[in-house]
């Protein structure tokens, strides 16, 4: 598996391997986490690019990140502003981001306002100023922001032909000057068809934001990139204090299954359940624990993690419904000292509940945590909570993204236990509201059953891809040590899976047997 939290900005530029006769195109790190992966390794040096999208979609921030990541005093980045955001405002706001290095301003990153020349409608003077500055400074990166405003303004006065000639001369100059250039503009997608500029540039990067119900979803698309394969499709983007972060649809993960043929069995922390599973869960399996509220899904998940910690296997618990303190308190109540593992850095309890999270952001947070602790076991508690934590617009991508993440992580040998809440309807045995059984290798179903006037709990292994498993429906209780499967009782019932079992045959004389949990006493009886 590729390191999930590898920061693009921190990577050294790569050289693409080509045949001996092919030109070697150096790939530059964009400084935008996740973007290099989407681009197929980075942005080609000396490429001529266009960043388009609506106002507020992050175009200026993205290009600032590139400039600060690549500019040096010897090969500075020249940021020309044209009728858009004045430089002084740009500096005011962009310096709030962590990538903004004040020490580089004026030396490695230089800002030049061309608005006056444009307002005087001196297109030749604009070009001459750009040429003079690029030549004098030996610039390595050139940005024109906002290019669309420039050409629209000038086209009205000087005509389309004049503008096209300007663009052509500009492109020629920049291409021959060994600079990586960006034209930034508030373009709309319809313009891509008609504007010859879009055929001229080497790369087109499109940023968009879509409002859906109360949430805003930011997306990035590589519409065009000459000379190298990029990850197609719309990728989620977030803007934080660190600037833009892109989340590749593939999450940078290799989804090729790489499960070893000699996988060991992992204990769940419940010996009888291990026996039902044929000796435990196969390492690298994805296990789904499905059941209604109160059946002990979280308790079982906690035991699974604690058992791993006992065997020196670090773990991650991504929880969406409970806050970490109550989660760890319950674990402490079971005698599972999760707090100590957290202190030792072998366990992280991630509470991922903020609204408007994208599924990719959430998964990236999980992947980062896995990388940090070197996790071997992962708990997702629960899938319902996970989905609810996402912005509505992201929920449609939920299963697809989950599939990618589970596939990649289990392929890398990480064992995942996910919980899902299902309702007992007493007529059938549901596994999940989602069609997610294809994501899982093993399914453990917990449910309530009514026996002898008590609502008891039973579990059954529904599916186990890696081998044989017990077909028994076993009763269990939740004690002070967690989920405990109790010995088979000497009662003959059928239709346990419906929740309303029926005695199968005449009541037989049997030894007095106390119920697993005491019955409630009726006052006055």
């Amino acid at each position: 598996m590729k390191k999930p939290n590898e920061t693009a900005g921190s990577r050294r530029p790569e050289r693409r391997r080509t045949g001996p006769d092919k030109v070697k195109i150096r790939l530059l790190s964009t400084g935008v986490r996740g973007f290099d992966e989407i681009l197929g390794g980075g942005l080609p040096e000396f490429s001529f690019n266009l960043i388009g999208g609506a106002p507020g979609s992050g175009k200026t921030t993205l290009v600032h990140q590139f400039a600060f990541a690549n500019a040096t005093p010897e090969r500075p980045a020249l940021y020309f502003t044209v009728l858009g955001e004045p430089v002084i405002k740009m500096l005011r706001y962009q310096q709030q981001f962590s990538f903004f290095d004040e020490a580089k301003v004026g030396t490695a990153v230089r800002f030049i306002n061309l608005s006056d020349l444009v307002l005087e409608q001196k297109l030749d003077a604009v070009l001459e100023e750009i040429i003079a500055q690029v030549t004098a400074t030996n610039a390595g990166v050139v940005v024109l922001d906002s290019f669309r405003t420039l050409v629209r303004k000038v086209a009205i006065v000087l005509g389309e032909l004049e503008v096209q000639a300007f663009i052509h001369r500009l492109a020629q100059f920049l291409s021959g000057s060994e600079v990586t250039a960006f034209l930034v503009g508030e373009y709309v997608e319809e313009e891509v068809r008609d504007d010859p500029l879009f055929t001229m540039v080497d790369g087109i990067f499109w940023l968009s934001q879509v409002t859906e119900r109360n949430s805003v979803v930011r997306k990035l698309q590589v519409m065009k990139l000459r000379g190298q394969p990029s990850v197609p499709g719309l990728h989620t983007v977030s803007i934080t204090g660190d600037g833009l972060q892109a989340f590749s649809r593939t999450l940078g993960l290799d989804t090729t299954p790489a499960k070893s043929s000699h996988r060991k069995r992992l204990s769940v922390g419940v010996p009888e359940l291990d026996a039902m599973l044929g000796g435990g869960i196969l390492e690298g399996d994805s296990v789904l624990v499905a059941g209604p509220s109160g059946t002990g899904k979280s308790a079982l998940a906690t035991q699974f993690i604690a058992e791993g910690l006992r065997h020196g296997e670090p773990g991650i618990m991504a929880i969406f419904e409970e806050r970490p303190p109550s989660y760890t308190q319950r674990a402490d109540g079971f005698g599972l000292k999760l707090g100590a593992a957290e202190k030792h850095g072998t366990l992280e309890v991630l509470y991922l509940r903020p609204l408007d999270l994208s599924v990719d952001e959430t998964m990236q947070a999980i992947l980062d945590a896995i990388q940090r602790v070197g996790a071997k076991r992962l708990v997702i508690d629960s899938l319902v909570g996970f989905e609810m934590a996402l912005a509505p617009g992201f929920r449609t991508d939920f299963r697809e993204s989950l599939y990618r993440m589970i596939g990649a992580l289990t392929g890398a040998g990480i064992t995942i236990l996910s919980t899902v809440e299902v309702e007992d309807n007493f007529t059938s045995l549901q596994f999940s509201h989602y069609a997610i059984s294809f994501l899982t290798d093993d399914i453990i179903r917990l449910r309530y059953v009514e026996i002898d006037g008590q609502l008891r709990k039973a579990m059954v292994i529904i599916k186990m891809r890696g081998g044989n498993h017990s077909k028994d429906i076993r009763e269990y209780v939740i004690t002070e040590t967690g989920v405990t499967v109790i010995p088979p009782r000497h009662t003959d019932y059928s239709k346990l899976s419906t929740g309303i079992p029926r005695r199968s045959g005449p009541r037989r004389a049997q030894e007095d047997e106390s119920p697993p949990e005491p019955k409630a006493t009726v006052l006055g009886a």
């Binding site: 004045p86 430089v87 002084i88 500096l91 310096q95 800002f111 306002n113 006056d116």
Partner: protein, 143 residues
């Protein structure tokens, strides 16, 4: 409203005396030819354009006038030039005139600090006057 600090005033005074040692003497160059502003102007225009620079100078002048009311007789022209100082210089005591120019420049620097922060303002001034040792912390906004 006041954007200046004692430290900014000290910086302003150092810059003025460095560029314009004769400012407080009667034998100075024309008062409108403020060499400090003239050296700052190209950098400001690069950052803000002509209109932005003119607005910044006018704003600094208005703010300085609240402290030194005689400065209200000066103004910024459509070209971004400072006018009115020539006449004022002949009417005002040299030390008062110097103090007024210091207040004005300190207000201008204070505005820059407000917009782009002390680090970038310090960097901008340091680019123009690399030989004048200035401490970045002196551009801070603490009064």
């Amino acid at each position: 409203m006041n954007k200046t600090t004692p430290a900014l005033r000290k910086i302003a005074k150092r810059l003025i005396l460095f560029e314009w040692p004769s400012v407080a003497s009667s034998a100075s160059a024309a008062a409108s030819e403020d060499p400090v502003i003239e050296r700052l102007r190209p950098r400001l225009r690069r950052l803000m354009g002509h209109g932005g620079t003119r607005a910044l100078l006018a704003r600094a002048l208005i703010m300085a006038s609240s402290e030194a009311p005689w400065l209200s007789a000066a103004f910024v022209t459509a070209n971004g030039d400072l006018e009115g100082f020539e006449r004022l210089k002949s009417e005002i005591a040299p030390t008062t005139f110097l103090e007024g120019r210091v207040i004005f420049l300190a207000q201008l620097l204070g505005l820059l600090v407000t917009f782009i922060g002390p680090t970038l303002t310090s960097g901008l001034v340091g680019e123009i006057w690399p030989h004048i040792a200035l401490k970045e912390r002196d551009f801070g906004t603490e009064q």
